[in-house]
Subunit: 334 residues, 2 copies
Amino acid sequence: MKEDGAAATAADVARLAGVSKWTVIRAFKTDGRIAEKTRRRVLDAAATLNYQPNLLARSLATRRTHQVAILVDDFDNPYKLPTLKRLTAGLQREGLLAFLVNINDDFTHSVALSNAQQRRVDSVVFFGTAYDPTAASAQILRSSSQPTFVLARESAHDTLPSVFTDPVHGVTELAEHVYERGYRKPVFVAGPPPAATPLGRRRQYQKFWKARGLETLPEIRVNVYDYKTACRVIGERFESDPQIRACDVLLCENDILALAALDVVRYDLGLKVPSDVAVVGFDGIDLAASGSYRLTTYRQPFQEMVDELIEMITERKPARRLVLRGEAIIRSTT
Amino acid sequence: MKEDGAAATAADVARLAGVSKWTVIRAFKTDGRIAEKTRRRVLDAAATLNYQPNLLARSLATRRTHQVAILVDDFDNPYKLPTLKRLTAGLQREGLLAFLVNINDDFTHSVALSNAQQRRVDSVVFFGTAYDPTAASAQILRSSSQPTFVLARESAHDTLPSVFTDPVHGVTELAEHVYERGYRKPVFVAGPPPAATPLGRRRQYQKFWKARGLETLPEIRVNVYDYKTACRVIGERFESDPQIRACDVLLCENDILALAALDVVRYDLGLKVPSDVAVVGFDGIDLAASGSYRLTTYRQPFQEMVDELIEMITERKPARRLVLRGEAIIRSTT
DNA sequence: TACTAATATGCTACCGGTAGCAAATGCTGT
DNA sequence: ACAGCATTTGCTACCGGTAGCATATTAGTA
């Protein structure tokens, strides 16, 4: 019995219980072929020593860590929080623990991927990250031994499985709704520029309006998905750009931009929504439903996406490219 | 050179470079006493084999995992997201990776703590969790070998270091402001009941009003920090309880409850804020500043709290009980 | 009671690194 | 050429488990 602060090992427990360390280990396995009497004795000894099996040693031997790395580069969009909640809970139910990896200029995708490999995580999830598959990290990704998934964004590689919401359906629903209501002078409010693939929503909106005679869809680009920055940038563009000022509907890439747009339009510019200008979001965050906003948006099925992702991670379902549909929610901003 | 999918080891690299595995390992240490020529040869061999050192093996030997477990039981309060952002970024800068552990009925504090021990994380952070120190997990906590911290909540044990915002200062600032403005019929809007210690804000508000002649502070209790639930519960209480209906100020335990209160009061009950009823929050989330809400609240210094916590985790500063002050932000809901 | 089968326990070799000492090699001066 | 020293490389023993086979013990049957 060592009292030097170091955790007790199976060998310590074995010594106390008068058995070999392999018997101790068997006592902790559910299927262990072990005499009930011995098991109890071992468990008692383990309890007095406060023995906790060392998962590092186990993982080293079994080559399974039961760890998943979740890579996130945008902590400003509030939908991330409930989605992380569901994701961590679901993974934990499967015996998996999640690393929350913050991707930023100091800690790039390459660094994160390399780190994940070194820690031998069982799988990697790109959670809505602006992952650039043309960059050096693609090399790392290809040589990576662990299964990799993309959540809430379309994967750029065909070989990289992903679960995301169909942008064609979502944008079409919203655009048609807006068009039917008679809005004809749209402006797209965009977030940060996508790293590689042009982001689906933008492309779809452009396509929709082009088919109706609008050659180029005017755009306000906000370089961060962040409420405050968005307010500032949108306000500035309305100040300086007459074409923007003349719009009658703001098609926002996501809800957080839409809430910012709504606040600017209503309280800084003093416009009436939806009579002077309409606002449309995308995502379906909780706050979009609030009495203060009542935002027309498209609900992404985040929970379902997470559940499907977990099915893939646990290999109950084959890893593949899975496109899900949400639903348009019409409220009072259109 | 094995091509069987298993990652290359130092021994594989050694074989290719014609050295021993210990030389390979030296080549990867910055301080390694190794001939420059050999290092280059080893690094080349490592590159062709795509060798990545196995951190499990290293951790097993060094007894340091460079992993931190962050325990969270409430994913509904939006301040958690920017705080997690700062926390993960800060830890990563120190070479530490964070486990995001979701505490719930399936995965309790005890389970999480035991899991963290088995994974040999370097430290554990209770991030605003309703940790009940009287429960069985206290036993585990005491016997736990890894340093443990509480973030954004007052720790119940003196021995358990914590970083949190002074509730006395915050509540006093807000309460005095409200009192000066002439509000005299307050109702406290409470979140889930605290596990052990009565939560500071509630107690402080009660104290303040008692000193001014109000024996018991009426209360609306919402059992989850969740916008939708809060709306429902607050609405119901206004319906059914004349004492609640007669109030002139809603003192909310945090901003998310305050936003819900504000929406209910304005849009469901049709009351004017702040003339019919005032609303006060606590936390200082981004959205409280938005044009739609303009909520009077108390800004908690979350970023500073995180930075101080990291100083303790990295042992640059001694682990201790650290109380920080925020500032009252008076906006248009009072 | 002896003999077999079933169950229980112990063993070796290994997972991929680390620590710190031992041996080998290179370099200098005489 | 060789002692004397520093630098470079290799080695043993270990971190705490796992896998799967070998051996010991017990129970069941003739």
